[in-house]
Every structure is written in C-alpha cells, then in structure tokens.
C-alpha cells in the first residue's frame, strides 16, 4: 500500500462566518460547527473556543484530541466505520492539518478525563500544548446515560474534525510524505537480508472511557489482526478512552503514531517493516490468554525476526503486555516492549504489576505518579468541578491559592506509551 500524506501547516485559527483556510489561517464558523456537533440529538449544547500555545489557559475534563484530515484520493474516507463508510483505507492521498487539533471536553464521568495546560510546567508534559486547539465542550440532553453521552461526544469530535479537514480538500500541501508497504512476497524479494520487524499495538478495551475502535468495531470484540501501518493515518483506529489520561492514546496519537512513523523511516534501510498487528487488553483472563496466544501465533506465521510491543494504560494491562512479551519471545522472536511506570510518588515501588525474565528490552515513558504543581491559569475551558477526583489527583489537589498539586497521570499524553511527547531523559 502506498499513501501520500500531504501536510498543510495551520498558523492560526479564527472564528469567521465564512469557513476557509487562507495563507495558513483556519477560519471556522461557530454556527456551522455547532450545527455539525448537534446533528446528534443526544447533545443539548456544544460550545467552541480556541486555545493557543503559550496562553494562560487550562482545558479540562479532556476527552479526546483529533487531527483534522481529509482523504483526497484512494478508497474510503477518514474515520472508516464512523464518518466514512467501511472501506479499506491507507492508500492514495490524504491531507492533514498540522499544528492544530480538535479537542473534545466536558464531564462525561468527570473524574476519568484529562487536563491540558497551554503554559507552565503542565504544558511541558502534554504534547497538545504545542497545537492550536479548537476546543468543543459538549453537554448532553437531560437523562442521557453515560455510555450514550460518551459515544455522542466521541462522534461529534470526529464529525467536526472531518468537516474542518474537508476545508483543505482543494489546497496544495506545504509538504508531502510518502509511506509505502510491501506484501509479504514483495518484502522477501526486495529486502532478503533485512530483519523482518512488525509493530504489535495493544489497544485499551476495558469499558466506558476505556475503549478503542478499529474500523468501527469495539476492540474488545476483535481477535488480534493485521493492518497495513498506513491505515492508521486515515483514522482506522479511534479512541474512546481517556482515564488516567497520561498514557491513553487520543485519536490524534493513533493518526500520528510515532512507532509507526519511526519504523517507516527504517523500512528498507535497517529493517523490513512487515506489518502492524493490533491486539486488545480485555478484562477477562481468558481473553488476555487468547489474545496473546493469537498475537504470538501471527508473529510466528509471519516469520518475524523482531517485534516492538506498545502497551496502552497500566495495571492489569501490564499482564497483557508481559503475556505478549513472553509468548512472542518463546517463538524465537526478539521483543522490545514500550510501557510507562506507576512506581509511587517517591519512585520506589514496583513499576509494573507484572514481570517476566523475557522482558529484557524495555522502553519507559516515565513515572506517572510523579507529582507536579500546576499554577493557577487565567482562563479555564470546561470545569474544575472534578479536579480533586480525577485519577491522579487527591482531595487536596486544588489548593487555596488556586494552584493544583497533581500526579502527571492527570495530564493528557504525559507518559505516552507510543512515545508521543517531547520530554526525554537524554
């Protein structure tokens, strides 16, 4: 599969009745966007705001972050199974609006969403302090159950992102990147001497605000499967999860998965990037066993030499991670795992809930229990009503002077287990 990804850089976002992109400035109409968001009768209101890098703005509770994209050539459309009909994506031509994001916010559960600060120490931890954010705060109709509310906000985010992406359809990209994969036979013929490497991506799949979707299918219902790594660039994987927001992958991160991008950079040079394998992290032990056996079997059937496994989340998914590592390694395949740590506020506790000797090549995204003080910011988009209850906070989080004492766990993307961030120990 071959995908050309055209990048259109957005320098600013302004509200204007006439929606367009002109000289790198995105003009959007509040009225138009509200109409798109509220086309679902589960939502009572949607309010739009803009948050720019460096501004004294805090956004919370954050549900999802999405990059507007539009498919201009090739089969299917963005967010297949949700916005576009189900068709195989990942080939042809797609345009992405770089430097900006659509952020959905509002209290669905309240204590299970994230925080984005546009300035201060919190901004160092979240990659979404560097994007110009078009923020949408949604409120549900009265009596709507949480599951339906979550779905309504999730889909409203995709509709708005797709509509914004559509404004770029007839533009010329500032830059184009080409991603190309081979079939199994082509790869063997073309790169006979390169190690065969695949990416195993574990998807969070544990219920409300813990779910991920593949082509419209709830990931808890899939058996491990194979996709072309280019498919994620068109939104084949979307997020429905944000609890302990530091290590959950918003849709934006799936669209820009750094592991996929890095493997593509090495493809044909140091490795043969064979494929992208998707698996889940379910709540039943039998599911964990089944999915890890299937993953290991797929790796073996593809005659892989090496595998990179990324986890999503922590706690019981550490067991899925270790099962994958153990079983893939047992097939004679070299395995590297990417995770984060919950090592306590002093960093002295056991980092993962599970362990095995085969996990001898581990990349960590940091300790999610690390405590930071976030300053009081001038403007709030959303509400602070839940800030003392959010995962990673405590009843003393909101202090008298308006500052917040929190674990970095609350910050969207702070310990991304696919490496989507700017902090490193180097």
């Amino acid at each position: 599969m071959k995908l050309e990804l055209g990048k259109i850089y957005i320098k600013d976002i302004k509200f204007d009745d006439c929606q367009r992109i002109e000289d790198g400035v995105l003009y959007v109409s509040k009225e138009e966007l509200t109409k798109i968001a509220l086309s679902d009768d589960h939502l009572a209101s949607a309010e739009f705001d803009i948050a720019k890098p460096g501004e004294s703005v805090r956004i919370t509770p954050v549900k999802d972050v999405i990059e507007p994209r539009v498919k201009v050539e090739g089969s299917g459309g963005v967010f297949p199974g949700w916005i576009a009909k189900v068709d195989t994506v990942g080939s042809g031509k797609t345009y992405a609006l770089k430097g900006m994001a659509v952020v959905t916010a509002g209290p669905i559960v309240g204590f299970q969403e994230g925080v984005i600060d546009m300035t201060g120490p919190g901004a160092d931890y979240t990659p979404f302090s560097k994007t110009i954010n078009l923020v949408m705060v949604c409120k549900p109709v009265e009596g709507l159950k949480q599951h339906a509310y979550e779905k309504a906000v999730r889909l409203a985010g995709f509709r708005v992102a797709a509509a914004v992406g559509e404004l770029a359809r007839s533009l010329e990209p500032d830059e184009t990147e080409v991603y190309e994969t081979c079939t199994i036979k082509e790869g063997l013929e073309k790169y006979p001497d390169l190690p065969r490497v695949a990416y195993v991506q574990m998807l969070q799949s544990q219920g409300l605000l813990h779910d991920t979707y593949v082509y419209g299918v709830d990931a808890k219902q899939i058996l491990p499967t194979i996709v072309s790594p280019t498919e994620v660039f068109d939104g084949a994987i979307v997020s429905g999860n944000c609890v302990s927001a530091c290590d959950k992958n918003p849709t934006y991160v799936h669209q820009n998965n750094p592991v996929v991008e890095e493997l593509f950079k090495q493809h044909g040079k140091t490795i043969n990037f064979v494929c992208h394998i998707l698996t889940n992290e379910n709540v039943f032990l039998a599911d964990k066993e089944r999915s890890s056996f299937f993953t290991a079997k797929i790796c073996k059937m593809l005659d892989l030499d090496g595998v990179i496994v990324s986890e999503e989340g922590f706690g019981n998914p550490d067991t899925d991670l270790i099962m994958n590592c153990k079983k893939i390694t047992a097939e004679g395949i070299k395995t590297v795992i990417i995770t984060d740590e919950y090592a306590g506020r002093d960093g002295k506790s056991q980092s993962l809930a599970d362990a095995h000797a085969s996990a001898d090549a581990v990349v960590t995204a940091g300790n999610a229990n690390e405590v930071v003080i976030l300053p009081k910011l001038d403007k709030l988009i959303g509400t602070l009503d839940y800030i003392n209850k959010i995962a990673g906070a405590s009843e003393t989080t909101l202090r008298e002077d308006g500052t917040l004492e929190v674990e970095i766990q609350v910050i969207t993307g702070a310990t991304s287990e696919v490496g989507f961030g700017y902090l490193s120990a180097r």
């Binding site: 219920g207 709540v283 032990l285 550490d318 099962m323 809930a353 599970d354």
Partner: protein, 77 residues
C-alpha cells in the same frame, strides 16, 4: 497483603481475576475470579444465577484454604 498475613502464620486464599499477577507477587493459594470490573459476580446473569456463581466462588475459596499446597497453586475448575 497476602504475603504479610501468611508471614504472620495465617493461610490466605487470593481470589483474583489476573492470576498471573498473583503468581508474580507470590500468593500460594490462588482462586480465579470472574473479571476485573466485577471479580466476585457477573452483572450479565440474573439474580439467582449470580447468587449461585458467587456461592460457588466462596465455597471454592474455602476449599482452597483447607487444602495443603506444595508451592504456588491456582485452583482451576
């Protein structure tokens, strides 16, 4: 907690969903539970069926408590 109570001389049964974690932390008597969000019940069953399931789980745990073990044991079945 399991290990500390056993260190004090009282046998412990660890009822848990993710038995591999229990193995890693070193429990000796392990009884598999239902699922992570609902270890001791199943909201998909009707009241009567769920009661039976719960009773069976408790009985299994008590049985495990009386059973002599030679090293870490998962009580399947």
């Amino acid at each position: 907690m399991v290990k500390e109570i056993e260190r004090a001389g009282i046998p412990v049964v660890h009822v848990c969903t993710v038995t591999p974690i229990s193995m890693t932390v070193g429990a000796n008597r392990i009884v598999p539970a239902i699922a992570i969000p609902h270890p001791l019940g199943n909201p998909n069953l009707d009241h009567e069926e769920e009661f039976k399931l719960r009773r069976k789980l408790v009985e299994k745990a008590l049985k495990a408590l009386e059973t002599e073990v030679d090293g870490q044991t998962v009580f399947e079945g």
